[in-house]
Symmetry: C2
Subunit: 564 residues, 2 copies
């Protein structure tokens, strides 16, 4: 079914579909804020300021009151209030909107989703400020990862969804013999209503693939933002509703379920029988709760894990240290892709300049970390602020534990932000533990916390990394090794553990910045995530092909019994 | 990676991939036994006879003893014994076989799977006899559905699997700028070990899609046959092992976990942490148990449900009745696709000859059924024998219930088989109930049992059909209606209930014979099945793309810190 918005964005979709096949570098949306106009960031700031101390406008059904309690990790009061709607009201509205959306067909739905992305792209600067003051990311990183990169992930999901939806005919003439000639019609049909539970640290980057995959495949979407990071998803929902309305569809195909932090709303709606798809990225406790309780829904859950680094040997020791420091500092460790534990054999690291002992490696990494964060103006741009006070408490508790039972290679210290004196900024805590101290490193400590773990030898490092990643989950595995047999073994470990493997990363290629259209963010093969991202299963699990068949002509009563 | 077996079967695979897109009539394997040679059926019988009273040879590890207790529903003693291996032994052997199979690549695995199918095809007659004397199907239907049609389903799964595996590059050059140039390698990686739990009534037809989808995507497969239908899957496993061995792979990539009926083996192995995929088709109680307990695995569960028929109006009343009778008799209702309940409004059925009242419709259907089964020679070819004594008991209990609380339109009677005097053959029980007697029709009564349910009007029929199929599950929905508004409403019901819809079937097109490469057997959108069959998700959920990346050259220490 032709739709003008599909035609408008067809070229971009085709490029995206080539990109997911080719998996080379491709940026669908400009990464440089200046590409959006000289005043774009200032305009975005003004738009963001207009939300502060005001009522966020969303024309949703069954409004029960207003809610909102966001506090910027940079200390800026937000005081934004959102309409608080009942789950039942949003579900009923979504059900009422469903059938026309399904019957609209693949191209209409995909075209409208592409238009929503295009509109979101024009709002990138506004979203960047909203993200900065909810997630704590620095403005530059909030813009990049929460704007163009998040939109690219939405597009990536759409590219997969359209490819999977379009791969069978919509009508077939099935004929076995003269009396058996059937018309078969096929239509993409949704599973039901999709619930997207927003994360606190990367609300748009995490939600867009789910939102667009579900919506394009015909499922109405209810977005439940994290109570501390509502604004970026509220803006996104408002944009989606506007485009749906302009296109003649019911805006309740996408709605926002905002609530105060003390509300049990997520757990209520997650168990509703009409909710058939749930996407969640966040802490493992709620992920486990979903797996235990939301049994009526298909789950797409990403809870992170203990990403491992193994340091065996290197071509360039200084570059290795710098790359690791950057990865540990990026977003102050508040990414599910951040390395959590670094295994090094007691004999140390082979470098072009000779062997560096394990103890020395730990001191060198601590020193390099210290050097980087000693310039706060530079450091805060990479670190950003800490999203949650719970993370600060976790740093403190882990520091005390390390002091008591292990060794602190570099303590975490608060840092002053040049523009935001009240900002919650802390440098990474780096500790050292022995291989046997599993309690110190074999669990995810979300935030700027990492452990260097000394092992007997690289074989033990490999075995421990495998155990850690298989049992606790992991998204990636970074190995510094120049020796072929270590690399071969690392490949086997990565295969068995279901993690993306990187060798010898240096320079600006960071293990915790997966490249859109090239890298798979999760495998679904270990506890870090229940699904691959973004791949065919991520979209194909959201729909089925419904089917209607009938004889071409009102059939005559052929005496077929004779034929048998 | 080139493989001679892939090359050998490439043309067939390409035809199959065209067929799953086009969804027209296509038979990859000959349906007529004569196409396999004039003596094929006799040769197959001789091969089958050779298994009787003997030890089935399978060179598997960790044999603990022997087991086997199959009894033919036709009364023929089988007395075949199978090696009984421990779950742990088969799992350990599968793990040991895994990595070389994964590294062999897409084409090698697909080629070997295609060769296994080709070998199975040459064994169709032998399999037909094995199926007849375990499932109770008539020889002709056992040949067709358990031979060429089951193999076609395996091929259909392979076509989807290959398409999904091959859609991304295996190697990419990713370059962002001069210092960021990475080689990325991608490989299809399996979830782990796949457990295929065989059904008693259609062991090959149900297992082949799972077996081939899992194996082609890199997962070793352990086949756990139903204790009463081991032989067809034992032959299939032996063929697979032979081809694997000839191709230089570990035969333990496919193994048979046989056990006696009293063994708790299925429940034990289903919860093993190494089992990451479980396919099961069968009774809902074990399906529910799997959902509750086998939480470490992705489940592909098909448990059937209450397939509904709605009779509103027809172009040809006699043809309608004949078609329904055939569907009710096919395999004596022992298919998950068999219609279970027929809704008709009190005002009856519009026909070209005038209105037929609901009571009269029930009598007419009962009479047509009686006419068909009054010739046992003809009837047993369609009915076959009853696989399980539990089904016979269910017929009797339902008959008593219907006599007490409702009405019996046609009682079930035993039938004598001309060649097999001890065969367990029973004609269908047809009862009539009122819409309010939900306990009589709103649950699956597996076997030759169906209910005609009288409703107030067609609107109530539609509503009850929707409720039944949404709550109890259903695979298909057959509607006889000439009136456009009824058809439109039926399409909405089918969409909301997630069932395949057929209008006005007459002649030899039966609702319970889904056409390979054209029809989707299940949607996964209602309780009848947890997944669509056979579609992209059915295969894509079995693998992920594993990834290895590294810089193209051992990188120099570019002072990238300045760039930030």
């Amino acid at each position: 079914m032709f739709h003008p918005l599909f035609d408008k964005h067809r070229a971009l979709l085709e490029q995206a579909q080539a990109a997911i096949t080719r998996r080379t570098h491709w940026l669908p949306y400009a990464a440089n804020p200046r590409a959006y106009g000289e005043t774009a960031m200032d305009d975005g700031k003004a738009a963001f300021e207009a939300y502060r101390g005001a009522q966020f406008y969303l024309d949703q059904p069954d409004v029960q009151g207003r809610c909102g309690d966001e506090i910027s990790p940079y200390g800026l009061p937000l005081a934004i209030s959102y309409p608080s709607c009942s789950s039942d009201g949003l579900i009923a509205a979504a059900k009422a909107a469903l059938l026309p959306w399904v019957r609209a067909g693949i191209e209409s739905r995909t075209g409208i989703c592409l238009e929503i992305l295009a509109r979101l792209n024009t709002r990138s600067a506004e979203l960047a400020h909203a993200l900065m003051h909810t997630t704590g990311q620095s403005l530059a990183l909030a813009f990049l990862s929460g704007g163009p990169q998040a939109q690219a992930r939405g597009l990536e999901a759409l590219a997969w969804a359209h490819r999977e939806m379009a791969q069978i005919t919509q009508q077939a003439e099935w004929q076995r013999n003269v009396s058996q000639r059937l018309e078969k019609r096929f239509m993409v049909a949704p599973l039901g209503i999709s619930l997207v539970i927003g994360s606190a640290t990367q609300p748009t980057w995490n939600a867009y693939p789910a939102l667009f995959a579900s919506l394009a495949t015909g499922n109405p979407v209810i977005v439940k933002p994290h109570p501390t990071a509502v604004l970026p998803l509220a803006i996104s929902v408002a944009v989606a509703r506007q485009v749906l309305k302009e296109s003649g569809f019911d805006p309740n195909l996408v709605s926002l379920l905002a609530s105060n932090p003390d509300g049990p709303v997520a757990r209520d709606i997650a168990q509703h029988p009409e909710i058939r798809l749930i996407d969640y990225a966040g802490a493992p406790d709620f992920g486990d709760w979903l797996k235990e309780n939301a049994r009526q829904a298909r789950l797409f859950v990403e809870t992170g894990g203990v990403n491992c680094v193994l340091v065996d040997s290197t071509y360039d020791y200084q570059a290795l240290l710098k790359n690791l420091v950057f990865s540990l500092c990026l977003d102050a460790g508040q990414l599910r892709t951040t390395p959590r534990v670094i295994f090094v054999a007691a004999e140390g690291v082979q470098t072009p300049e000779g062997q560096v002992g394990a103890e020395q490696f730990g001191r060198d990494l601590g020193y390099a970390l210290g050097k980087f964060v000693e310039d706060p103006v530079r450091a805060v741009e990479l670190l950003g602020a800490i999203q949650s006070p719970a993370t600060v408490a976790r740093i403190a508790a882990t520091g005390e534990l390390a002091e008591a039972e292990a060794e602190v290679l570099r303590p975490s210290v608060p840092l002053s932000h040049p523009q935001w004196p009240a900002a919650r900024i802390h440098t990474p805590l780096l500790l050292r533990a022995d291989a046997r101290q599993r309690a110190l490193y074999m669990e995810e400590r979300f935030g700027p916390i990492a452990a260097v773990v000394t092992t007997a030898n690289t074989a033990e490092s490999l075995a421990l990394a495998e155990t850690t990643m298989r049992e606790k989950g992991a998204l990636n595995f970074l190995v510094h090794a120049t020796r072929p047999f270590v690399r071969q073994q690392a490949e086997d470990v990565a295969l068995r553990a279901g993690v993306a493997l990187s060798f010898n990363l240096t320079g600006a290629v960071l293990i915790n910045q997966p490249a859109g259209f090239a890298d798979f963010h999760a495998s679904g093969a270990n506890p870090a995530a229940s699904c691959g991202m973004i791949d065919a299963a991520f979209v194909a699990n959201r729909f089925y092909f419904s089917q209607v068949q009938q004889h071409y002509l009102p059939p005559s009563s052929i005496d077929w019994v004779i034929e048998v």
